[in-house]
Every structure is written in C-alpha cells, then in structure tokens.
C-alpha cells in the first residue's frame, strides 16, 4: 500500500475510533491541510492528530484495542513531551499530539481550535480540521520550531497572507497562547523579549546548535520549578526506549552510563563557556 494511502487510512481509522469513544480529535498536517496552504502533495511519513488533552487516555485506550501499539510515549519524544507515536501492522504510524509546541493555552486553546473547526474529507471520511487561520498558525509555529523560516509553509501562511488574514492570525495566536512562537516564525520576535518563551523560540527558530544554550532556554521557558527540573532531566538523561529501538535490544547499564556521561560532558563543557562569557559581560559593565 502506498504511504500516502496508509496515512489517509490512519486518519480515517482514528476518526472512527474517536467518534465511537466520544473523543474530540482534530486532524492536522499532511492530507488535512487546506489546499490553499498545501501547495501539492505533502511529504508526510505519518498521520498527525491533535486530541483534546482530557481525552488522551480514552483515545489511546481505543487505539490499543484496535491493533495499535505505543512506540514512543509522550515522555520519550521531544522535551515538549507533546506527542506519542503509535504504530500499526499495516497502517501508517500516528503521532497523537496532546499539545502543539508553541501553543501554550492547554485545554482552553483546544476549546478555541475546536470551536472554529470545519470538516475535511480524508479517504471519504468527514474529519474535523482546524480553521484556515489555525492551520496557518500551526504550520508557522511548526516551521519556527524546526528553524525553517524560509519554508514554503511560512511563505504561504504568512508572507502571502492579506492584512486581514494576518490580523485574524494574530488574534488567534493571542487567544491560544502562541504569540511568541508565531513571532519567532514570522521574524517579529524582537517585540517579545520580556516573555518567558522568548529565548527558547529564539534558539529553536535560529537552529541554535549549542546544547547548553538550548538547555538553558528550555529550562528558562518551563513555567514551574517542577517543570524546570523535569526539562533538565529530559535533556540530560538518555532515553532508554529510544536507545532500545536504535540498538534492537535493551541497553546495558554500561551503555546507559556511557550515553549519560557523553551528553552531560558535552552540555557541561558548553555550559562552562556560557557562564564564563556571562561573567565577563557582567564585569565589563
């Protein structure tokens, strides 16, 4: 089965499972993107869905009952811990998003996206998708996170948008807590230097390679002390499940220790350089 067909069948299957389980689900990216923003066939490798945060467990349970297995849990993924990957014997993998990096409004943000949804046909099944403005927002924020500011997604969603469409997008970003990420994706981050997420979105959108800078920015952006500790652990401690998939077997304690020291050493070296630079800057003032 061609990959593009498998992806469409995954979307259609999830929609039916969501309906049967009373789950609110929005289909995002890939074949769900409006033709006005898509620019032809998108090169996806999986199906992406955004689920109402309070419905996550219900959806995962329904999927597990219909042949899906969890390949990566939320905590195995990015430091945002936003998506879990589930695989199926014949269908395309699915990324179940419980949030979208850069959209910080939680359940209230989902409420807003859900209220503005419309239906799109995927493989003959009526699938709820975000409004056109929300699709623009998600594409831009996704590009910003990948440091792909010159991507066709940003061009179509922002550069080629009318003033009215941009106003609608800015208002939506304010409502769903995505102002900083949108600014990062559209070259307006300078107006948000006082926001907690500013440094993080600067390092992401500029493809910063220093692990220490990324670590510091992520920790700074974490909203609570507990979240800061969790973020630090996520970035420094090697992920056992990902190592297991790469090695094809569980990692030995020696391999885990080696991975931990390798990550810590690299991060620590850069951290020392950063702290020395900061100290020099303070002395120079």
């Amino acid at each position: 089965m061609p990959r593009s067909v498998g992806i469409r069948f995954s979307h259609a299957t999830l929609q039916v499972l969501a309906e049967d389980s009373g789950v609110d689900l929005l289909h995002v990216k890939g074949p769900s993107v409006d033709d006005r923003l898509a620019g032809g066939e998108r090169q996806s490798i999986d199906a992406d869905v955004l689920v109402r945060p309070s419905h996550v467990h219900r959806l995962l349970s329904a999927m597990h009952g219909h042949g899906w297995t969890t390949m990566y849990r939320f905590e195995d993924g990015s430091a945002f811990e936003h998506a879990s990957t589930l695989v199926h014997a014949v269908l395309a993998p699915v990324d179940v998003h419980r949030s979208f990096p850069g959209v910080d409004g939680g359940e209230a943000a989902f409420d807003r996206l859900w209220a503005d949804r419309h239906v799109s046909d995927i493989a003959g099944v009526a699938c709820p998708v975000p409004s056109l403005a929300a699709q623009r927002l998600l594409l831009i924020v996704h590009a910003a996170r990948a440091g792909a500011l010159a991507s066709p997604d940003v061009r179509r969603s922002w550069d080629e948008a009318t003033d009215e469409e941009r106003e609608e997008l800015l208002a939506l970003a304010r409502d769903v807590g995505a102002e900083v990420a949108l600014a990062a994706g559209t070259g307006r981050l300078g107006g948000f230097t006082d926001r907690p997420g500013h440094d993080l979105w600067r390092v992401l959108s500029t493809r910063e390679t220093s692990r220490a800078r990324i670590l510091l920015a992520r920790v700074r952006a974490a909203p609570t002390r507990r979240a800061k500790v969790r973020t630090t652990i996520h970035l420094l401690v090697p992920n056992r499940r990902r190592m297991e998939r790469r090695l094809g077997r569980p990692p030995t304690p020696r391999e885990l220790a080696a991975a931990y020291f390798s990550r810590s050493r690299a991060g620590a070296r850069e951290l020392v350089i950063l702290l020395r630079a900061a100290a020099r800057e303070r002395r120079g003032r």
Partner: protein, 90 residues
Amino acid sequence: MTAYSVPERVAHVERDDDGLPQVFLMRLPDGPPVALEGTAALIWTFAAEGETDVAAAVARAMGLAREQIVEDVEAYLVRLVETGLLACTD
C-alpha cells in the same frame, strides 16, 4: 438495475498509477485494506459514483460490448457487496 453507494464506514482512496486505475478500500476501523486494480477498480468506481448500469459503463470505458462482460461484472458487484465494500441503495 441496481444502484450502489459507498458504505458509511468504508475508507477509500482512488489513484491512477501510470494509467492503471487503482482503488484502495478499508472497512473501518479494523480493515484489512484491499487494493483493486484495473477493471476491478473501474467496476467499484462506476458503482460508487452511482452508475446504475455498471456493466455498460465499464464496457464503454474498455471499448467492449456490454454482453461480453455483463455476467462477470455483476458477479463481481455481488462479491463487493457481500464483503461490505459496496452497498446497494435500492
């Protein structure tokens, strides 16, 4: 003449692979996916589009006489209905 439609919970993707019509079908949510190619894909597509004389439509598309294929086409339509990949609407 019988009219057909796509059952509510059947996902379908139609493609054209270098001139060879293809239809991928899957009963939701558990499948399994099915691939139809060539004449089989044409039969399903005409039926799904509401064509009441599917054999005549397929014969026209293939440059054949209806009588040459009508039995095979109708037998195949019965199979598609039995497997839940097509529904009779009357």
